[in-house]
Symmetry: none
Subunit: 235 residues, 4 copies
DNA sequence: TATGAATGAGTCTTCATTCAT
DNA sequence: CATGAATGAAGACTCATTCAT
């Protein structure tokens, strides 16, 4: 303690933490900020969330947000890399182009719904800031991982449609957007349709069933065209 | 600022426009502002669009925006009432609960797509500011017309599912969200999937066909008794 | 970005002006700000002068400074263009390379001193922000007018030294810096040497006489061949 | 940028109280910081140099700067005492009032130039922070050693002028400022006039010769009675 | 001896809004 | 009708400084 003598001692400044401070530090200050940012961004939008709001929700000073992330922009980077990217990786995990396309798509839809349900900030953030035109995360997400994932899926899907393994009326390039629209958008609007009659009873399993039903029949090749379901398969 | 005493002092009723202005006629100042606001809101989000940007795009001063709309908040009201509401009314036009549910839904999807394609600001605005959690227009839209429209549709849909006129795996409360997700979200992300292989060739008709195909089979009652059920994710 | 300030409409906000407001407006708000900026920059340095200080001295709000100058940087531009440039132009007025070099230089020194004395901010600003290494106005001033003025003078001076119309011991490239050093630096340090014995009595005319005396003999060609050479440091 | 946080200077300002003096490593942490500070102050100005920049250049943490110097203000003190003061002492070394004034002044000019050339931070720091109006080091330097040095010189110079041992047109109180202006200002502006034609070839010896030539003739008593007088403003 | 963490007090800048003209 | 001028309130970011370790 080198500062003994003529210490001005302006303010007592004892316990720096706001109520509910981390004590020892399990959550990790940086983590708390990142969580708060992700949450607020998903609820109020990036443009609608001042750094101060993030700091407040994390129980820190705005200056500390800059201390850890330097920049509002780098904070966005961190959200994409440390929050979104892992999540998307989870959804795409063990998705192989060679699998049965129907199963793959329905499976991905289910995983998307369950993932999103377990990570409440996901659908809102994606809808608002990735999908939207000038979404603050859009280019980051597309450039870093989303686009390549979509591209990787595009050839198999086109082939599946061409070979009649998927409904021939489908447009391959629109399959993924349809999937997103069918899963994340309803999830992002839970608060809305819950207000509808019958809506309050809908749970995640119901949702998975609904989307599965829609996709199973909607994506499948038309039964009357003479194509039997699950023809011999030759990969 | 340095206006000396000898000020011209124009008469109380001066001719409005400066030279080279659109005069009082065709476009309408107020209309231009409203258009600019709608467009910018849809592209940059409400929170991301300052009044000044709207004024600039409309070719007027920020003060004039206040002159016509008093308030940023009332400008939002105007956008909802004069832009969104008529559009939604168009989509729901001659939708009757008594019609064949399949035809009604597929028809509405088609109308949604065509309407949105003809009104580029629509999908973006809806996705960002109506659907999103704290969307700036959300409560306005829900409270004024969207909710009651959805409610009106909810009973017939539930009945149709119950009576087997729609796929039994569907959840009535989720039919409308699915419809929105299947139409507006892909439309809002045109810029994205256009970059995918095969995406650049997709036009509106293709899109209508794609969604129709998906819905026609996806919503229709299962042709056979064996209902496809997705296993609830064996986690 | 985040707008929507929860309009409480707190204060009636009547008379905007602070004490001593311009009333009719002789000085001109913009002019007042520019004057304040120039003055403060010269006294405290550019880096040491917050916009708020300028605003306060001008009797306005910081926001108004931005209203007129957009940017701290553009304010610097304005200071250079509207304050420094005219002043320098005045000093260099009717300076012709063809004139007798002695008379020209001594005349310029005199004009520099009188100009600077009449414009108290000039020497300080020049010394601190033009001459100094990372001076905030340096590149602006050099790039826009100072360098070309110096270059224009450089050939005639070299010729004059070569032809013996100026002291042969002089280095042409150093003549202008010497002139500046002999005039602006003492002027910038008035407050210092005024404290010295005999200093309080020195006025502008005395200063002009002093510099003229020094230059008249210092610049003039040596009357006799015996050129004084300083021994290279007798350490 | 604008620093200088209203120095209340509450503490008695003791010797920084380094708990155990550095003396460990060769370069010396403290020395490195002091060097970095001096260098940066001279190039960017005191107000334009954050502690962090000093720390970075010295390869340490900002906290360590405070550890050694307690305070930004005390760091300035240290720069003055440990850097500027010794340098100035060197320039004034063996300057005696009784010497031949001409030789003393020309000698001092030469020593000033050579000193400054060997210590690149000197001219800039002096010009910017000692000479300038609110220079951050000004009062420190004047109060501690510069003023008394100048005062000590002032009587002999006045006597020399009075006795005709120096040019009678000179103003004694202005001799030292002229000397500073003639030496340090050109040195501080090396980067500028080096860009002029002929400037790139100028070296220290040339500079010494130039100033010596100017001073030798400029300071010397007029060889003839006809004293050149500059007309008071040739308008 | 040294530092990472943390913060209060600024600094620059933007914005919605008002008002006299 | 329309606008230039003006401002209070915020927003992002920086900085000197402190402190526990």
């Amino acid at each position: 303690m080198p500062r003994q003598p003529a210490k001005p001692r302006p303010s007592p400044r004892r316990s720096p933490g706001r109520p509910g401070r981390p004590e020892a530090g399990q959550p990790g200050q940086r983590e708390r900020i990142l969580d708060a940012a992700t949450d607020l961004f998903s609820r109020q939008g990036v443009a609608g969330t001042p750094v101060k709001a993030i700091a407040t929700q994390a129980g820190v000073t705005p200056a500390l947000v800059h201390y850890y992330f330097s920049d509002r922009d780098l904070l966005l980077d961190a959200v994409v890399e440390e929050k979104l990217q892992p999540l998307v990786a989870g959804v795409f995990a063990n998705v192989a182009g060679d699998a049965e396309p129907m199963a793959m798509l329905v499976g991905m839809a289910g995983r998307l719904i369950r993932t999103a349900a377990a990570t409440p900030w996901f659908p809102g953030l994606w809808i608002r800031e990735v999908v939207s035109d000038d979404g603050a995360l859009r280019e980051r997400v597309l450039g870093r991982f989303a686009l390549q994932r979509a591209v990787a899926l595009s050839a198999p899907l086109a082939a599946a449609v061409a070979r009649g393994k998927l409904n021939r009326g489908l447009e391959p390039a629109l399959v993924m957007p349809s999937l997103i629209g069918l899963t994340l958008l309803p999830l992002a609007t839970t608060h809305i349709w819950r207000r509808l009659p019958g809506g309050e009873a809908v749970d995640i399993d119901t949702m998975v069933r609904h989307v599965s039903a829609l996709l199973t029949h909607g994506l499948a090749p038309a039964p009357d065209a003479g194509e039997s379901r699950l023809s011999p398969e030759s990969s």
